[in-house]
């Protein structure tokens, strides 16, 4: 079985390498891509979509279908990480440790007794607990709002400059990951729990596909945003720009949630306890 797999891989690889001989040479000006497609994008994209950044126009409008499945791949990566790593931890008869956040005193609740619910000034800690650093905590608290603001700027400004949903989503996810690293995973999960995360991850893809389906429902091709003009109350060209923006928001949400989910699963080995 293994030998057959190896044979198939080698055959496919050989075939692919053989096919590279038919590629046009590097940067060949008469290649099909540079004769019809690129000039049209470069010359017409601003007239047709009112988006100054050609890359964004190609990514989210002309090749929107491609990008939709890219987003789906990211979603699938998050789900795969969850399925592979997440394990169910039995809250069994082991002891639970709580620490008073002001004095640093630790209490231990043994034999599976329920912890009192009014332990507000206590935080749950693990046996292999790692001390937190005041400097790193404080600086991260100061920086995280700016990181998130910048992420929103990157998402919204993808029309005019480098940026867009993927980059902005990664920055937005990084801000929550920084919180999880500087404090611990529990305090980041208090702000964005596992359920919210999963919902957001799916909602991002849904926004993207839903925009496409909306175009379909209004009587145009899938992801042809021009038909959405009555909804945005503007002309069809501007509607394409706005449609790209909607799609970018979906991409941003999906990428953010997936980044956070992958970090949560990998850093705590699927147990969702204290993390790194």
């Amino acid at each position: 079985m293994k030998a057959a797999g190896l044979l198939i891989v080698i055959l496919t690889g050989g075939l692919l390498i053989y096919a590279t001989a038919d590629f046009p040479p590097w940067a060949y000006p008469q290649s099909p891509a540079s004769t019809h497609v690129s000039p049209r994008y470069i010359e017409k994209s601003i007239e047709e979509t009112a988006v100054p950044n050609v890359v964004t126009a190609v990514l989210a409008d002309y090749r929107g279908y491609d990008t939709m499945f890219e987003t789906t791949v990211i979603f699938a990566a998050g789900v795969a990480c969850f399925l592979l790593l997440r394990i169910r931890v039995e809250e069994g008869p082991e002891e639970q440790l709580f620490r008073h956040s002001l004095t640093g005193m630790t209490i231990r609740i043994k034999d599976g007794r329920k912890a009192p619910s009014d332990l507000e000034e206590f935080e749950r800690i693990d046996a292999h607990w790692v001390p937190q650093d005041l400097i790193i905590k404080t600086v991260c608290r100061i920086l995280i709002p700016f990181i998130q603001l910048f992420a929103l700027y990157v998402i919204a400004f993808g029309h005019h400059s480098p940026g867009g949903g993927f980059q902005g989503g990664v920055i937005l996810g990084a801000s929550v990951i920084v919180l999880a690293m500087s404090h611990d995973l529990r305090s980041s999960l208090q702000r964005m729990g596992e359920k919210v995360n999963a919902l957001l991850c799916a909602a991002g893809v849904l926004i993207y596909a839903g925009t496409g389906a909306l175009c379909l429902a209004m009587g145009e091709n899938f992801l042809d945003y021009g038909i959405l003009a009555p909804l945005f109350r503007c002309d069809p060209v501007m509607a394409r720009s706005n449609g790209i923006f909607m799609v970018e928001i979906g991409v941003g949400i999906a990428v953010m949630a997936t980044m956070i989910r992958i970090y949560n699963n990998v850093s705590s080995a699927g147990r969702y306890d204290e993390g790194l």
Partner: protein
């Protein structure tokens, strides 16, 4: 104005050179992180400040905005770079790497 800009640029260059030499020449992990955290931050602070000043040659609102953005970069580097170095040093201590003492081999 130009003289001030040149002065700051040269000062920043001195700090960067010191940082680079320090990273190469110091004997161990902790002492190498020391110039990486301090001198690079100071160098980038001075050079970015000089650039934002130079950008204000023709005083318009657009230039002002660009300078403000450079100042913002300076502020965030000033906050985040030493903190990152602090975190790395902390991780090194927790991993059990002892500091270098006189007479030891370079590590």
């Amino acid at each position: 104005m130009d003289f001030v800009v040149i002065f700051f640029l040269v000062c920043g260059l001195v700090f960067f050179t010191g940082g680079a030499v320090g990273i190469l020449r110091f004997p161990d992990f902790y002492s190498r992180l020391h110039p990486a955290g301090k001198l690079d931050t100071m160098g980038s602070l001075l050079m970015m400040g000089a650039l934002s000043l130079y950008n204000l040659h023709h005083f318009t609102l657009g230039n002002m905005l660009t300078s403000l953005k450079i100042i913002l970069i300076v502020a965030f580097v000033f906050l985040s770079s030493p903190t990152a170095i602090h975190g790395i040093v902390d991780a090194g201590m927790r991993a059990g790497l002892g500091p270098w003492t006189k007479g030891d081999r370079r590590r």
